[in-house]
Each structure stands twice: as structure tokens, then as C-alpha cells.
Amino acid sequence: MAVLLNLIFFLPPVLAAAMLRLPPERRNYTAVAGVGILTLFAVMLFFLPFEVRFAFPEALHLLFWAADIAVIGFFAYAGLRHRSMPVLLLALAQMALYLGVAGSAPAEKTADIVLNETARYMFLIINGVGGAIIIYALHYIQSEAVQQRRKNGFIALLFFFVGVMNMIVAANSIELFFLLFELTTLCSYLLIKFRQDAQSVENAKRALWMNQLGGLAILAAMAASLTAYETIYFDTLLSRANGAAWLLPLAFLALAAFVKAALIPFNSWLLGAMVAPTPVSAILHSATMVKIAPFLILKISGGFDATLSFLVALVGSFVFMTASLFALSKDYFKEVLGYSTIGLLGLMIALAAIADPLAHKAALFLICFHAVAKGALFLQAGILEKHYGVKYISQIRGLADRNPLFVAMIALAFGALTLPPFGVFLGKFMAIELFSQQMQSHPLFSVVLLFSVLGSVVLTLLYFRLLSNFYAKSAQSAGEGTAVDKRYFFPAAGLLAVLLAGAVLSFGTLGITQVLLPLLLLGTAGALVLLFRAKHIDRTKTYHCGEKEQAVLANSYFDFESRYMKRAQVLALVLMAAIVAGGWYV
């Protein structure tokens, strides 16, 4: 099995290398085959009945050490090249801290790699959803106006990213985790920069230094862990810190997670990533990068005490509410999706922070289904941009008339984020129950509950509003109702199929009627919309006060973001500071 594990770690980099070399035709076949194999591995590993742990040979450790130095060095170089003070300074700080930590780390005999249940789920998402996105990207990237070499590089990077992700979810050594964390930062930096215009470079720099902060937090966690618990391994740390009062390492790790999850106030890096080609957003939001955050919290929340658990949940739910609210102010489709990702990550983190098996299950549900649904949505956002030339919600109006099937697919993806019986709904549903439960022992959790209730309502509102735009009639619907390119269509449709199939998973938590009834209703609605053609029924015009002219329609809009962003950021920062303080004193 360790072989399989090693394969899933090292096949992607190999594929990445292949992508760089192969001519386009063969490149595509190889990529599709590679994705297939990876997904197969992930599925096989998923059904593995036991935990796998092993350590890498010493030589590899040295390689990792060298890689670390190289990556940090590259960051320093990037800082110099872009004349970005934060990047340079952070790189230097990281270098110093890393050398200090690595130098003083004791020799431990523990597994570097641990394959537990959480990791198995993550494999599925990373390889399944990530794979679908890569396949989609194969065609998508061809329409970019760059040289073929860079297009290949793009695909290669995506593969490499998947590889890194595969390894990070199984990493048990914090040092290794740090390296991979930095590598994801690097990947995202390169991907965001892909189009190389001023905006892209600017946003890539921002993503870089913010994520470096996360790296720094991990280094700080390592340092703290070394001083108090003399280990740089997750499992050892958790077992030693369990019941202990001083939880600073965990607090720092949580901070790193917050940065990766782009929680407010770090939200700007993820939103800035929108400048890159759509597959980048898709892969960042669904399968990779940001998912590290809830995953990390899941990993370490076993060591949380009640206060830390509450504080992290508070940050999570607070961000859930505010990010959902800010999403309402956005018109750019991908940004709306971005904010909603941030919000849902907040909820995942809040759930993951509760040391309770059910909470972990809920968090996992959310992670998985959010990944699938968001992946699908981003792919569809890409189709909207490339195929229909639509980027803004206000332009979306009336699309349902032109391509009902496509819109039904989007509707399904949105539905999967709010409605029963889909996974994300299930997560929210369980969250409310869990928080209510927590409340009984820890009354302050009522605030977490309130935030999540409001957040989930606002999010629902957001999705409805968005969705209704597709069905909205407008005076100005342009373009033709052509079929969407198959190469775009299939990855998205595949993900949706997974979503639907996933509803089955909720059977344990929901009863049969609870699962089937909404499916039936949705199905009827969909079927009726597609099939109901009342030829014999007369048509009338819409009522316009007896006048004949055309209506000029528009949505209402809001400006929560510019009004409340500052306050939200300050509040979130205060809460995060409280976490560090809590880790120190409690």
C-alpha cells in the first residue's frame, strides 16, 4: 500500500514533467489517462481498511531541507524582483526562523506520512475534483493568448499542485507540512501570475506575502512546539499537548489555517486570484489550497481545549456571516463565488474546531461537497465567460431562455450548496444541531450559532438572488443559444453527477423521505420547465399599468463591503489575536 501511496505522491510530478514535453494531442491523452489513474488510486486508497504510516528515508529529509531553503530563497528573489518589501522581509524572516527551527529539531523516530480517514477523503477530492478541473483546463487554456510552452506549463503546474496537495494531507511531520505549504504558496503564486499583466502580478504578490504569513505562523508553531513539547510531529504534539494548558503551537497552526482559508481579513488574496484563468480559481477554491485550512483544523482540533475550540469556532462563524454578507455586494460572478467560498470555509473551520466525531463528520461533508459543487460552479463560470461572454451577474439575465439545460445545471450546483438533501445542506443542518448541542455546555456557543444561522440565511439569499437572475427576463438578452462545447460540458456534468450521487451519502443522517422528497420536487420542477409546452393556452403580455412600453428592469444592489469591511477586518483580527493570547495563557 505504501507503494500506492508513494505513487499518488510522485505520479503527479511525473505527469507534470510529461506535460512540459509532450505535443498537445498526446499531452491531452496523457493528462486524461493520468487523471483517471490518480482517481483510481484515490478510490482504492479510500477503501483501505487500515491506517498506513511510514517514514521517508533520511536522504529524502535532506532533500526536503534543501527544497525548503530553495523555496524560501525563491520567495526572497521574487521579493527582490518585484521590489516588494513584504515579500522580501517575510522571506528573510522565514529563512531565519526556519534555519533556527530546523537546526534545533531533535531526531525523532516517527512516521512522516500518516494516512488516516480524513486524508482518504481529501485524496478523493483532490484527485477527483482536481482531475476534472485539469481535464477542463486542457481545453480552456488553449484559448489563452500565450505560447504553447506556457500553456503546457500551466497544465504541468496544475498536476504538480495536485501532487503537493496529495502529500500535504498525509504529512505528519510539521516540517514537511511547512515545505508543502510553501510549495502550494509557490504554485498559487505562479498560477495567479500566469497572465502576467500588471493586475495579475500585483495580485500574485499579494497572495504570496499573505501566504508567507501563514508559513511564518507554521514556523512559529514549530518553534513553540519545540520549546514546550520538543517535537515537530503532529501526532506527538497532539498527544503531548492533550490536556496541557499551553497551546500556543496549536494557536499558531490555526492562524496559518486562517491565512490559507483567506478568512477575513486575509480575504483579498483569494479574491485577487480571480485574475487568473478560471481553472485556477476552480482548483484553488475546490480541490486544493484553501481546503488545507479546514483540513488542518480538523487535524489539530483534537488538541484544543474548550476555550480555544470556542474561539476558533467564533472566528469561523463570524467570517461565515460577514463574507456571505459581502458577497451580496458583488456583481462579478467569480467574486461572488469567492466570497461564498470564504464564508463556507469559515463554517467548515467552525465545525472542525469542535472536538466531536459528529462535528468532524459534518466538516468533512462540507469539505467534500463544497469542493464538488464549487468546482462545478467555477467550471460553469468559465463557460459563461468563454462561451457566453458573461462575467457579471447583471449580464446573466435571461440565460435560462437560451440554454435551459446549462442553467439547470448551474441551478443544481447552487441548489447543492443550500438545499436538502445535498451535502452542503447536510453540513449546515448538522452544524446547527451541533452548535445547539455545544451551547448547552458552553453557553457562549450561542453566538456561534447565531452567526451561523444568519450566515446561512444570507448565503441562501445570495444564491437565490443569483439564481433568479438566470431566470429573469430582461429587455436585453443577447447572443445565441448554442450548445456548450463538450470538452467544457463533460467535466462539469461529471461533477454534478457526483453531487447527485453524493446525496445518497446523506441517507445515514437524513431519512429516506427527507432525501427523496426534495429530489422529487426538484426533479419535477426541472422536468416541467423543460417539458411543459402549453401550445393551446393563450399568451398575454405582462401587466404594465395599461401602458405598452417596455419595462427597464434591474436588481437592487448593496454596498455592505465598502461600508463594513474595515470593521469586520478589525474584529476578525482582534478575535485572532485572542486565539493567540488564549493559546498562551489558558
Partner: protein, 366 residues
Amino acid sequence: MSTTTKAVDMQIPLGAQHISLLEPVKFTFTTQNEKIVDVGSDVGFVHRGVEHACSSKFEFKQVGFVVARICGLCAITHSMCYTAGVEKLLDAQVTQKAKYLRTLLIELDRIHSHMLCLSHTCENAGFEAMFMSLMGDREPVMGLQEAITGNRVQFDYITIGGVTREFDAQTAQKIIQVLGQTQKKIEGYIEEFQNNWSLSKKFEGIGALSPEGAYEYNAIGPLARACGLQVDVRNGLDYLPYKEVGFTTITQTGGDIHARNMVRLYEILNSIKMCRNIVEGLPEGEIQTKVRGKPQGEVITRLEAPRGELMYYLKGENKKVLDRVRIKTPTFATIPAMIEIFKGQDYADAPAILASFDPCLSCTAK
């Protein structure tokens, strides 16, 4: 790359047909988030051509009945204003009793018209019960008008030289009794309009006109008086005995819907007082004097209709048909003000603001 949603304008039509409208008028509100930023209007739906008909088709004796049909709500003020003008041109004398009776009817009309306006404003503010209640309490007043003139709405009571009917002692008693009841009801409404929480949300500070704006836009009637302007044509009339029957000018400050409502409510009380004085102090005498001759010359007469100043300009050239009849109606001049007031308000308030103007498009467009 900040792409916060842009301000997109939505155009909300109100009219020509709309449930909150009694009369056809068309406003097109350009709104952002239901806030009105611009208003387009079309007020000409009810144009029938009365001015033209009055100087071509109808003889001057008939015109009184025609101009009454410019508007059913203040039909009596139209016929009064016209008749006063013609009487001036003919140099006719009218008995004191006829003058008193004319005033009585005009004030009764004001009572029912104000109550209607208030109830319509409440209906448009979504207060159905208040609409019902006011409409119910208005009925006795309508009954009085029918008892006196023989018709509930178009009284056709004033003729050149006097009035058509008088009433007996029994009716007089009934008038006093109904007025007493109505007064009590109105006092109740005054309290309710001041204290109802939801009405304060709907009316206070909404659709406000400043005193400056009132001068600027030539506001008249309750609209101006709600801004504190002392404008009431009844103050200086020579052909109706307002001074004797206890008229006072009612003003309020604030200029919002609430102030307009209060002006109307207090004016109803004042009208009730005047009516009572008239019925109790009705002079003896004939109600009709014979009038001869044909109108000759130019005259302007003014009268305070429920909605404000009504003006007639008549020009006769010693013929049966007048040379020119110019009617300036209360709402006519305030349409620019209305459009100004709408801006910056919520669309949700528009129907109530509109109703609180008590606009009369049928007379505006004639």
C-alpha cells in the same frame, strides 16, 4: 478590480392604470434600490376640452353645470367660482341667505373631500382598516349633501342668482346632529394619526416640502398650509360670508404627509364649526334673485377648493356664449413641486405621497 455592484436604474411605472390611483396619471420613477432618483410624468389623460366647450358649445347659463363636471370632488367650488364670476359680469345681487347656503355646501363638500383624501392616503399606506373607518364615517356627511341638494356628488346647487333649494327645520336638526357626531369621530382620528406607530413610519418626515420650497413652487391649499404658509383664499373673499361664520386659517409645520393630514383634520373641525354656525344663524329671505342680461367684460374670481386655490378668468362680449373661460385648478401648479418631492423618496412611499397631495388630475387636464 473592485467590482462592487454598480448602480443600475430600474424604471417603475405608476399609472396610467394602477390600483393606488383614482385617476389616470402616469409617473415613471427611475429608481435605484427602490429609491427614486428621477421622475417622468404624464398628466394629460383626462383632458376633455372643457375650456373650449365652455366658450363654444355651451351658453353661459349652462356652463355652471358643465364646469361642475370638471371634477366630482369639488364640483361645488367650480360652479361657485364660475357663478361668482358671471354674477360680477352681470352685476347681479345675491341674497344673504343664498350666500350662507352656498357656503354651507362648500364646507360640507370640504369635509367629505378631506375625509376621502385621508382615507385614500391611508389605503395607499396599506392601512385598510383606517380606509374603511374613514369611508364609513364619511357616509353621514354624504347623506347630508343628498338631503340638501338631492344628489350625493354632483350637487348642481348653485345657479346664477342664488341656489336651487333650501331645507326644512327637520333637515337642519339632522345636519346639526351629524356634524356633532362627525366632530367626535374626527377628534378620535386626530389622536390616532398622532399616535399610531406604523403611521408615523409611513407619514412623518416623508414627502416633505420646506416653506422655501412651498414659495418656490407656488404651493397652495393644504400643501402650503402644512408648511406653515398662511395661504387660504377664504380669507379675503367678498362674495361669501366666511368672516361671519367663524373661519380660521389652519397651519402646521413640517410640510410632510403627517402635517398635511393634520391640516386636513383640523380644517374639518373648522368646517364643522362653520356649518354649525351657518345652520344656526341662517338669515331669512329669498334663495334666488332674477338675473338679466349677458356677461360683458373681464373678471377673475378665486375660491378655496379643498385642494387649494381655484381661479376662474371669464371674458364676455355681451353674447350668450362667453368669449373665454380660463380655469386654473389647484393641482395644476403643484405638479412640478410633486415631481421634486418624489425625488429621494422610496418608491414604497410614492402612492401615499401622491394621495397626500390629493391630486386632482381631472381638473388639471380639464
